[in-house]
Symmetry: C2
Subunit: 409 residues, 2 copies
């Protein structure tokens, strides 16, 4: 068994095609309103691959979620097809047929089994998929598949995203070099349980389906599910993982010590993608990290961190570069977490603003200047226990309103 | 016993001084940053009165909440003092001393027992009360007490409110005419459990303290706690009721049929004040009523209605006059309420947009035009049971951001 106690994932280019044996593409199929830009993406493995998925908990799940959840049951995938511009949600049984038709068209274009194709969609809710456009997009995308196609695929899944999101890392485990790469989309409607968030991760490590499931679920819990932009969650979210084993090595099962570096690499990729999503929150001018320590439990810490991160008053204060810790205290108090009103401590952008539950003297101008940065940390120490949690979000600006008041019309 | 089966509250002017035996006043004491406008209010009864209070559930409760909650335990009050401009929250033991000093100064100025004075504050968090200004404001306000002073008091408790909120109604019960009047403040940070919401209600009906408690709690549950502007809740909220019995009649205890018309009158006043608060939500251009019917239970309906009413995506769609029912469906799905994805129905501004969980054909231009009104109803029928709930909120506009990004600086 290789020594896996000392490893560090190294960043590499390539996104979902960084790992061996994966190709991808993105093409413009005219699905989007207005028709501009790429909107169909394919990610294809060179062989049937161990696979796992995590899906939205929204009870109004979109058709592609229903179809992909079913498809993932045996834990094997060879391809993923994604369209942007139309969510195929709230479309009833016809929507399910459309999602299955998308799956079948992909299988046919690639010459793989239908049961090995996952389907994802993002965009407007309640409108039927323009199936003809999607199908011709799929056949174009199949023709453009490329082992350097990661960036093109990442671009094709964007909706209100302002930049494409991809990253990849490499770990050396004994004699093998395993790569984990991923891409994601998401900017509005993001919150735990992965609202309107799509994430696709590939690896050439030889995971079993059970191992893939375990590491994916753990990584999503600590990364994608720690992002919140506006508290809304979508009908369409999913994160999928394919592991084709193309880099060699004996099969890695749950409990194998070699799973640890793969899990770490996967979490590195997922965390980076999740932070990119928060950074790209609709209208965001500042990335916000809320850390809560000293809580009665980790779940209390999470409750407090999410309540602070989702408070519109906290988020507008960050937009206004206002070190308004009173709003943080207010959110803390209503979070439901155990609070000692005479002990908590709040630092904003590195400036201690409140201790023992009360104001401390601080330089407001300096604190406001410190908040004028690409990233602001709001750190709360509750001083009642050892629980801790970190949540990522962004500020709430005029542009959030503009984007969402005008999104459809 | 009087016939109380057929009564209808009649609207009357006067706010908290509409009922007999109450006087009020509002004065400018210079507590607000900048110092403009009235900021100290008094409401005084002609005798010790049966009283009840409902307070914030925020665990970081402000000093005046702690003091008034204590004061209310015996169920008797004769006066209420309120200041705007400073919340006296997150101010530690000194804040408690300040709140008690405010209470004592009022008792002295009015010549009543300290134990009969409730204290309320609203404004900036974490800054000590300018006690000298507050005390001289109290003595000015005592000198200006007037049985027509309701409007002046209502004005003095405003913060980001754009209009003063008061109303009163009268009911005839047998040979007696009883009046219930009230005033409130609140615009941002409003949500159930009465965030940054102050409400003061007076009546000349001869309620006992227990009866006052019962009717107040019931009315608040169905009115003030059904308002949400941004999901944030405050450290300072309270609703207080004083019943002095000045209109005559035998004491009304719990179970007395004469309590019913008083409860109805109280609920009418509280509902009107609550709707005014939603209408005055920070930056609001449109009042929004979300009604959910056909839910598995009333609490499921409430969960769904609040999730829809608090969704920033739904609120910005209303601002954009976009009949975007997909966002309503999304909120419904993530609310935690039992949903049958193939049965729910959504109407926006009277236009059916979704049935059986899917889009129906409707005229988008006409629906958008119908939304361009002072009030928009979003009606959801879940078709799974008999539960129902109504929640009031407003849209989310550029001005919400402006007001809250600039509030303190």
């Amino acid at each position: 068994v290789a020594d896996v106690t000392d490893f560090a994932p190294t960043s590499v280019p390539g996104g979902v095609t960084a790992a061996r044996g994966f190709s991808a593409s993105g093409v413009a199929a005219g699905i989007r309103n207005g028709g501009a830009g790429k909107d169909v993406a394919l990610i294809v493995a060179d062989r049937p691959s161990a696979a796992a998925g995590v899906f939205t908990t929204n009870k109004v799940a979109a058709a592609p979620v229903v179809v992909s959840r079913e498809t993932l049951v045996p834990g094997v995938l060879q391809a993923i097809v994604v369209n942007a511009g139309n969510a195929n949600a709230c479309t009833g049984w016809r929507g399910l047929e459309d999602a299955r038709a998308m799956q079948a068209a992909t299988a046919e274009a690639l010459g793989v089994f239908t049961e090995l194709v996952a389907v994802a969609s993002t965009g407007v809710i309640g409108v039927r998929l323009p199936l003809g456009l999607v199908e011709s997009g799929i056949s174009d995308a199949a023709a453009e598949l490329d082992t350097n196609g990661g960036a093109s695929a990442a671009e094709a899944i964007m909706t209100t995203d302002t930049f494409a999101k991809e990253c990849a890392v490499r770990v050396v485990v004994g004699e093998h070099t395993w790569t984990v790469g991923g891409m994601a989309k998401g900017s509005g409607m993001i919150r735990p349980n992965m609202a309107t968030m799509l994430g696709f991760i590939t690896t050439d490590a030889p995971l079993t389906a059970t191992a893939a499931e375990e590491v994916l679920r753990a990584a999503v819990g600590r990364t994608f599910n720690r992002v919140t932009v506006d508290g809304d969650t979508s009908t369409n979210d999913m994160v999928l993982l394919m592991a084709n084993g193309a880099a060699g090595g004996e099969s890695v099962e749950v409990g194998d010590p070699r799973l640890e570096p793969v899990a770490a690499a996967l979490e590195t990729v997922a965390a980076e993608l999740a932070r990119m999503i928060a950074r790209d929150g609709e209208g965001a001018t500042t990335f916000v990290e809320v850390t809560v320590t000293g809580a009665a439990s980790d779940s209390d810490a999470e409750l407090a961190a999410f309540t602070i991160a989702e408070s519109p008053l906290v988020k507008t204060a960050v937009f206004g570069r206002d070190p308004n810790w009173g709003r943080v205290a207010m959110a803390l108090g209503r979070s439901g977490a155990q609070v000692d009103p005479d002990r908590f401590e709040i630092a904003v952008a590195g400036v201690l603003t409140c201790a023992d539950g009360q104001a401390v003297d601080f330089d407001e101008t300096a604190a406001s200047a410190a908040m004028d940065a690409p990233g602001v940390v709001i750190a709360v120490d509750m001083h009642v226990g050892d629980g801790e949690a970190t949540v990522w979000t962004c500020d709430l600006s005029y542009d959030y309103i503009r984007i969402n008041a005008e999104y459809r019309t």
